[in-house]
């Protein structure tokens, strides 16, 4: 349309412009001051000048005086063919940006400013404008805290992440002490089934399941062989009685000392309460190892063998270093 306008002769063009504008003004019913031309309405910042009457529009006038052929041509068309110098463009863009920002702020704070450009609005919505602390709810995280953490909206605030982590460890600890090691989330551990032969155990052959995560270990019994045979032979009543018997020791959370040691190596949390005197040593060893681990971060990244080399001597728990004793003699 603009091109078609530009193709017309300058003389006729200027003439028709005024006619068309006048016709428009009269049909719409507004009165326009005589000094305002079409270019004023088509310019990108009609309101930029607080006092248009005094300064408007010097370049147009200048152009008109310099070259009468280009008076009627639209400045936009001129931009297409001849890119304006940078000095001219930069202030325009700055002003645009200022307007847009103003619009956004106006919308945010409901100031009632100029309309907001759609594109800019979409960009702004990508991030959360008011970061909030996001903590997963306790009730939702029984099956493991991972789910709410993943599904919750991402938060840009660092403290919210820290909070979430804290709550996760808290919950894990809570579960560990309340429900025992059976209910722990083992999804992060690599699982290995092994057949262990121990001639000091009554059933010297047993299947175990090892859960490993770095230097952390968990060992579980995998009783398969004897159970399946019993189930086959027993009737319904016998089976129920058998299950009852099985539940009895399970409720007491009876874990062999060694397993608990391993479990405590894993958890780094307080071991289960046990009153059996023989298993004290297990706690002692596990405590000393745990304390050493917590003291030296190097051990975390080291291999499992560092348990041996770096395991601590603990005076408080009745385990003391060899040097101390040698001197004490």
């Amino acid at each position: 349309m603009l091109c078609s306008i530009s193709t017309s002769t300058p003389a006729s063009n200027s003439k028709s412009d005024t006619n068309w504008l006048d016709r428009l003004h009269s049909s719409r019913g507004f009165s326009v001051p005589a000094h305002l031309h079409l270019d004023h309405f088509l310019s990108p910042n009609p309101c930029a000048n607080p006092n248009p009457s005094t300064t408007f529009p010097p370049p147009l006038e200048k152009e008109a005086s310099d070259s009468p052929q280009e008076v009627s041509t639209n400045p936009r068309r001129r931009k297409k063919h001849l890119p304006p110098p940078l000095d001219d463009v930069a202030p325009d863009e700055k002003k645009q940006l200022f307007d847009l920002m103003g619009g956004v702020l106006a919308e945010l704070f409901v100031m009632g400013g100029p309309p907001v450009v759609r594109e800019f609005k979409e960009k702004g919505a990508r991030k959360q404008s008011n970061p909030r602390v996001c903590v997963p709810s306790v009730s939702a995280s029984i099956d493991g805290c991972r789910v709410p953490l993943v599904t919750s909206p991402p938060s840009s605030a660092d403290n919210s992440v820290a909070e979430a982590k804290k709550s996760r460890t808290k919950l894990r600890r809570k579960r560990g002490t309340a429900a025992g090691p059976v209910d722990l989330d083992l999804s992060a551990y690599s699982r290995t089934d092994v057949t262990v032969i121990d001639t000091s155990c009554s059933g010297w052959k047993s299947e175990k399941v090892i859960f490993r995560k770095g230097v952390m270990w968990k060992v579980r019994d995998k009783k398969v062989w004897t159970l399946s045979r019993k189930k086959r032979r027993l009737g319904l009543v016998g089976r129920l009685a058998n299950e009852k018997d099985k539940e009895q020791p399970h409720a007491e959370s009876k874990v062999p000392a060694g397993e608990e040691l391993l479990a405590s190596l894993v958890e780094g949390s307080a071991p289960l309460d046990k009153n059996d005197a023989p298993e004290k040593i297990c706690h002692q060893i596990s405590n000393s190892i745990r304390q050493k681990i917590s003291r030296s971060p190097r051990i975390h990244s080291a291999k499992d063998s560092t348990f041996h080399r770096n395991a601590a001597t603990n005076q408080k728990n009745g385990i003391s270093g060899p040097k101390a004793s040698a001197k004490g003699r």
Partner: protein, 401 residues
């Protein structure tokens, strides 16, 4: 043309099958009737070598199986019921059914040489799948029938053991030596699930923890744990540990060395084990008193017994010596157990063949560095100090080894 060939091959196959069946029946009848040369080994060696002579056969038998004939016969008697109970069609390539002795011989050869199924199959004239089946049947039978050969000593035996240890290097009231061996495996490292089997020397291995008596018999074993677990977790998860902690093992009478110097029952181990009230390990400090140095000397000299025992175990039963190619990790512990049983049987029957080789081996797992455990228990320290005092004093026993 093709159909003609097929038609021509049909009767031949059938003929072979019939012929094999006849042979099998004949062989079974011969075995049942006890016919043949009268001695199983004569026939068997003839099968292997094609000839035999009266004097050479004994030597050949021992060189093949690293056992005396007496021990071999005992092992056969142990597993005979189990191997004959199941009806099987296990046979040589020529169709002759495998007798109990044949099966035991094949299995022992497999366990002692560590050769591949194919090699053993070729040398003994059987299919390699038969070698596998026979070996596994033997392992199962030994597990069931031979387990009494690996047990913690009763009180009488324990007294004898303690006496021997004291006589050996002067450690009073010592009941055994604990040591750990690594059974090497060749596993694909691409598979991430195999990481758990990688030990501190970056090799795939399975742990064998054994408590050895002065006769080099294994009195307690724990095996099956992956190589990345070390001495401490394996020990702590063992039944032996639990029993000692509960006071149901190593709970015999204390020995009074001097006035107010009582020593309870204990075992000894290397520096990779924790120092516990019932498990004594060497002093690890550099500046030691005379008594402590003496204690360390005697401890390491006594521990040689365990090192020799495990070295001999691996050397005699080579299936657990080299790197096993992708073994079944559930079956391997059972194979290790049977090797331990055989090791004890050989010692208990005072096998001259193996006894001659006893002195030559001193160490096992040469490529593994000594691990160190800093965990010490107060009561363990007290007991160790008592012993070092005793050893540094004038009450040194005579060194009769």
């Amino acid at each position: 043309m093709i159909s003609g060939r097929v038609a021509a091959m049909g009767p031949v196959r059938g003929f072979k099958r019939r012929k094999r069946a006849e042979k099998t029946e004949a062989a079974a009848a011969a075995t049942a009737g006890g016919q043949g040369s009268g001695d199983w080994w004569v026939d068997f060696s003839r099968r292997i070598t094609g000839h035999s002579s009266s004097r050479e056969e004994e030597i050949t038998f021992e060189s093949v199986f690293k056992l005396s004939r007496k021990t071999f016969n005992y092992i056969c008697s142990l597993v005979r019921d189990n191997l004959t109970a199941k009806a099987s069609n296990l046979a040589f390539a020529d169709g002759q059914i495998l007798s109990v002795e044949d099966q035991v011989a094949i299995a022992l050869r497999r366990l002692s040489s560590g050769e591949s199924l194919l090699n053993i199959g070729v040398s003994f004239g059987v299919n390699q799948s038969t070698v596998s089946q026979v070996t596994w049947r033997f392992v199962e039978a030994m597990e069931e029938r031979g387990i009494q050969h690996l047990s913690w000593p009763n009180s009488d035996e324990l007294e004898a053991i303690k006496h021997k240890f004291e006589k050996l290097l002067g450690l009073p009231n010592c009941c055994g030596i604990i040591d750990t061996a690594r059974i090497m495996m060749c596993l694909p490292s691409v598979d991430t699930s195999n990481k758990v089997w990688v030990d501190h020397e970056k090799k795939h291995s399975m742990i064998l923890q054994a408590i050895v008596d002065p006769e080099m018999r294994l009195r307690d074993i724990v095996t099956g744990w992956p190589g990345s677990m070390n001495e401490l977790p394996v020990l702590c998860s063992s039944g032996f540990f639990n029993m000692c902690e509960k006071g149901t093992r190593l709970n015999g009478e204390k020995v009074e060395l001097a006035e107010g110097l009582e020593v309870r029952e204990y075992i000894i181990g290397n520096s990779g084990f924790p120092l516990l009230p019932w498990l004594l390990t060497p002093y690890q400090e550099k500046d030691l008193l005379d008594g402590e140095t003496e204690f360390n000397k005697r401890l390491s000299a006594t521990r040689v017994v365990a090192q020799k025992a495990l070295a001999r175990l691996k050397d005699t039963w080579k299936i657990i010596q080299g790197e096993m190619w992708r073994p079944d990790k559930h079956r391997l512990p059972r194979i290790i157990l049977v090797c331990c049983l055989l090791h004890n049987i050989v010692i208990e029957l005072e096998d001259e063949v193996v006894r001659d080789e006893m002195g030559s081996l001193h160490e096992h797992d040469m490529s593994y560095k000594q691990q160190f455990c800093d965990i010490v228990d107060n009561n363990g320290i007290i007991l160790r100090d008592k012993l070092s005092k005793y050893l540094s004093g004038t009450l040194l026993p005579s060194n009769e080894s």
